[in-house]
């Protein structure tokens, strides 16, 4: 029966427009694809990030992993066309007889290459996400640097507490400058419960703007310098969480 079916299965040629999805990560699928014309992008999705794994062109095969693994699993990556493409679709049964007859040494090499490719792709996803995260941190730091150019000088009291650690250190003093990016804090009172403050710590800060509006925000400690009074620090902080209404109030306050 099965042998008869093999003859029935023929390769189908499908035409795709640029941008069409060929394989969706996470779907169940058994077909194998050969690119006849055009180009496709293989990519993985992680936490909403699209991570490109490979660009393939005419003559190359996709979707072969599940066939070689001989298992019913979900697709491990997505594929979409980046040019108008023609793709031949093979039913795995077309290959299974050939695969049975494949010399063991070739199967052995194919499986090793496959395992290494899976490993390499995982590494690629890791490295790409790591790099994207590093870029984000760099952007925040750039913000912190920029802040100095748009700040408004002032002197109003604030109080705050640490929020990113169990230590919950307390602090108070006065805000010496503020911008839409962050604040400069002259600290007069600091109550260290456990560990002293260090760069990267996050705080909840509360103050009353001179225009009568309460202002609350979360900010990250970007620099610690010596304050005006001996033995007291100056904190340069960058906002990490500022509600839209707080941003608006601050915006009005900052208007010249």
């Amino acid at each position: 029966m099965i042998d008869q079916n093999i003859d029935v299965f023929k390769a189908h040629l499908l035409k795709y427009r640029k941008g069409d999805l060929v394989i969706k990560e996470g779907d169940y699928g058994i077909s194998i694809y050969k690119i006849i014309k055009g180009k496709v992008l293989i990519y993985s999705e992680l936490e909403g990030l699209e991570i490109p794994l490979a660009t393939l062109g005419a003559g190359e095969i996709i979707g072969e992993m599940l066939f070689l693994k001989k298992s019913i699993e979900r697709r491990t990556a997505s594929v979409r066309t980046i040019e108008d493409s023609e793709i031949e679709i093979w039913h795995p049964n077309m290959l299974s007889k050939e695969y049975e007859e494949m010399p063991p040494v070739m199967k052995y090499i194919a499986n090793q290459a496959l395992n290494r490719l899976v490993r390499t792709n995982k590494l690629m996803v890791q490295l790409t996400t790591k790099r994207k995260k590093e870029k984000e941190v760099m952007n925040i730091d750039l913000w912190a640097k920029k802040r100095r150019f748009y700040r408004k000088k002032m002197e109003i009291a604030f109080s705050g507490r640490q929020i990113n650690s169990s230590a919950k250190n307390l602090l108070s003093g006065y805000i010496t400058d503020i911008s839409l990016g962050g604040v400069g804090l002259e600290i007069t009172n600091i109550k260290v419960i456990k560990n002293p403050f260090k760069e990267g710590d996050e705080c909840f800060i509360k103050t009353l703007l001179p225009n009568g509006k309460d202002l609350e925000f979360h900010a990250r400690l970007v620099s610690i310098k010596e304050g005006k009074l001996p033995g007291t620090p100056f904190f340069g902080m960058s906002f990490t969480d500022l509600t839209d209404s707080a941003r608006k109030d601050l915006g009005f306050f900052l208007m010249p």
Binding site: L95, E98, V105, M106, I109, R116
Partner: protein, 133 residues
Amino acid sequence: MSLDEFIYAFIAKEENYRDNDYIIKEGTNGDWVYVILDGKVKVKKMTSKGLLTIDTLKEGDIFGEMILWQSGKGTRTASVVADGPVKVGVLDTGFLLKEYERLSPRLKDLMKSLIKRLGEATQKVVTLAVESN
């Protein structure tokens, strides 16, 4: 994957290497394919920031196989260095190529594409690793 019996039929000779010995040197020519019989090796690639280890292979693993799918005389794309004492089997490349030629056209396509992708993916990972350091 453990070392399967049928591999022995392809082993032309055995070679022993000491810790840190080069079995394959990136950029040189060569068409041997190897299988690790005992020990471990490191796969390394030269980058603008020095030698980067991209993989560690163990007993039963094959290396140098990319040469089978390069047209003409192949240039090694990575170095393979002994990680401790290693015994490798040198596979008969001519014999392997004959086996490859016997494959159906579709399986040939599949093997070729797989090896090509592995090579490209490795190159991409190396670039990413160098950039992120």
